[in-house]
């Protein structure tokens, strides 16, 4: 099976974020990491390849820094990478991001496209499904298991409140992958070495410009959410904090 994994670089989970001068985006001088569900999507693609053979290709969009995500994926075992390299890609909405990806892979033939189920920055949970529609392929979301069979694949969808459902679907298809579908591997030293010689195709903004248009939605402003709750900060040494908390538990919350 030939599998494309869409990956995204996002700010590290505990990175302190600040607004930039536009007040519609963050200052980008922070540490980045791979979007967590995308790491599970990559791992699943590598496992499918190990079972059924084929090729794993990883794709991302963003400035030069985003290449790190692809390098790590190559070190873990992906065969080659595609980087839509331009800072302008960061500001695209999900519709245009999917259009740019579709344009970048128009000469390729994949059996499956994986994405993480959503990103930790925008949190749209849309790009994978939009890409499926643009490609004219069926899709399934929030996937916890994938089995290949004679007619295509059987996937396990996670539903809400602890429910699941198996779905049979033909190939090619797009799947959005849930965190926890598998156990992530680490890159090996030899993997890191080999990654240096694996092909990485760069795609410029100009190459896909004709496929994308104006964003269909616009972030007017970004701000720290107004608190709806009054929060009391409890400070002091650990023992002082413990004593104060026990007092709250007993006299205010009445749970002790």
């Amino acid at each position: 099976m030939k599998i494309l994994v869409c990956m995204k670089q996002v700010p590290q989970k505990d990175a302190p974020l600040k607004l930039n001068e536009t007040a519609a985006w963050i200052r980008e001088d922070v540490s980045y990491e791979v979007n967590e569900p995308d790491a599970y999507a990559l791992e699943e693609a590598l496992r499918q390849k190990e079972k059924h053979g084929g090729e794993v290709v990883v794709i991302t969009s963003g400035p030069a820094r985003a290449q790190q995500v692809l390098r790590e994926a190559l070190a873990k075992g992906a065969d080659r990478a595609i980087h839509l390299e331009d800072n302008a890609f960061v500001g695209l909405d999900a519709f245009n991001t999917a259009k740019a990806f579709a344009a970048a892979i128009k000469d390729e033939t994949f059996d499956l496209v994986f994405t993480g189920l959503q990103s930790d920055d925008y949190g749209y949970a849309q790009t994978g499904v939009i890409l499926a529609e643009l490609l004219g392929w069926p899709h399934a979301t929030i996937i916890m298991q994938i089995e290949k069979n004679d007619s295509g694949i059987r996937v396990k969808r996670e539903l809400e409140a602890g429910f699941f459902q198996f779905v049979d679907m033909p190939l090619p298809a797009v799947l959005t992958i849930q965190s926890g579908i598998n156990k992530l591997r680490y890159a090996t030293l030899i993997g890191i070495k080999q990654a240096k010689n694996k092909p990485l195709r760069k795609v410029t903004l100009a190459e896909v410009q004709s496929a994308i248009g104006e964003n269909l939605q616009k972030i007017e402003r970004l701000y720290v959410p107004q608190k709806t709750k009054k929060t009391e900060h409890i400070e002091g040494t650990p023992v002082e904090i413990a004593k104060k908390l026990v007092d709250k538990l007993r006299n205010e919350l009445r749970v002790l």
Binding site: K13, D14, P16, L17, A24, D120, D121, Y122, G123, Y124, A125, Q126, V129, I130, A132, E133, L134, P138, H139, A140, I142, E158, L159, E160, F163, F164, Q165, F166, V167, D168, M169, P170, Q178, S179, L216, Q217, K218, I219, R221, L222, Y223, P225, K229, T231, E232, H233, I234, E235, P238, V239, I241, A242, L245, V246, K248, L249, R250, L253, V255, L256
Partner: protein, 331 residues
């Protein structure tokens, strides 16, 4: 003619998904702010039955959209049915709850129509005649006001709990119900869904717990879960976790709180090393009191905490266990 807001009500397993009432409340609020009409659509097998129930709420009209191909749910059939309805009725704004099912089909539907979805919104503003939707970004660290720059129909989905379902206003009389049959051609539906099932009977029912001690990534290693357990035991409470802890297998899945786990509302929710991603918060924000311990002072969990302790949980928890034990022994 005034513009129209259309709320698409969700059916699941032959039941009306209760979160749909929240979306109706949202629709009524936007209608009141903009002066637009409000309508609703129920799509699928028992559409006409649920349409009558939805029609008791204050709105102009309810559509019952039917086709034998709509059951069981597939994204292909639902998107095709709604595209036909929307093309015929031309609403300005289409609202849905941000459920797993909606996430599965609404980006497809909007894309098929060349439109966009502002997803997972927590509110709206109507400023100088412009409608903007508020959604969380960067895992809740920021809120964003987002507007549509495309033509109608506009699609927006609302996060579970963003509006109160019990505040949906009843109408003076029942709204008229119009049955719409849609034609879904053979071959449109490509996926073959099997029966919905529950993995194993949930061994732990955290929904009944009065005190929950919950651990997140800040616990660092599996062996450290022991101190959280000791605190839970001292308090007489139950141990729970955020998703990454269960993904790692450090605690079983049935102890997971959040959109993919259990939704709880205990008297006390003590969050240890939980940053407070949206997916976790939807599962516990109804708790009567929330105490959060986290070393990151900007962690979103503090936005909803009643008591905030910025610090290392490994420093805070051991003396807390001792103090709780002392208090219990003295009482």
């Amino acid at each position: 003619m005034a513009d129209t807001i259309l709320v698409v009500v969700e059916q699941r397993e032959g039941k009306l998904n209760r979160v749909s009432w929240e979306t109706i409340t949202a629709g009524q609020a936007i209608a009141a702010a903009t002066g637009w009409n409000l309508e609703a659509a129920v799509v699928g097998g028992s559409a006409s039955i649920f349409a009558a129930e939805v029609a008791t709420k204050k709105m102009a009209k309810v559509y019952a959209v039917e086709s034998p191909k709509l059951d069981p749910y597939t994204p292909d059939a639902l998107a095709a049915a709604l595209q036909q309805l929307l093309t015929a009725k031309q609403p300005k704004l289409v609202l849905m709850p941000h459920t797993y099912q909606v996430r599965d089909f609404v980006p497809k539907l909007a894309t098929a129509m060349g439109r966009t979805v502002i997803s997972d919104c927590i509110g709206f503003k109507h400023e100088n005649g412009k409608l903007v939707f508020t959604r969380q970004m960067f895992q809740g660290k920021f809120a964003a006001d987002v507007s549509f720059s495309s033509d109608a129909p506009w699609f927006a989905t609302f996060q579970n709990g963003a509006f109160r379902g019990d505040k949906a206003e009843a109408g003076a009389s029942a709204a008229p119900v119009e049955t719409v049959s849609v034609d879904i051609a053979d071959g449109v539906v490509r996926n073959k869904p099997q029966e919905v099932f529950k993995e194993a009977k949930q061994a732990v029912d955290l929904t009944q717990a009065e005190i929950i001690v919950s651990v997140g990534r800040g616990i660092k290693e599996q062996k450290n879960i022991e101190i959280a357990k000791q605190l839970a035991d001292a308090l007489g409470g139950d141990l729970a976790a955020s998703r990454p802890i269960c993904d790692n297998g450090w605690l079983p899945m049935d102890r997971q709180i959040g959109s993919s786990g259990q939704t709880v509302a205990p008297k006390l929710y003590l969050a240890l090393g939980i940053s407070g991603a949206i997916q976790h918060i939807v599962g516990m924000k109804g708790s009567r009191a929330i105490i959060a311990v986290n070393k990151d002072s900007e962690a979103p969990i503090f936005e909803i905490a009643d008591y905030a302790i910025v610090g290392n949980l490994f420093d805070i928890v051991p003396p807390l266990i001792e103090e709780v034990k002392k208090a219990k022994a003295g009482s």
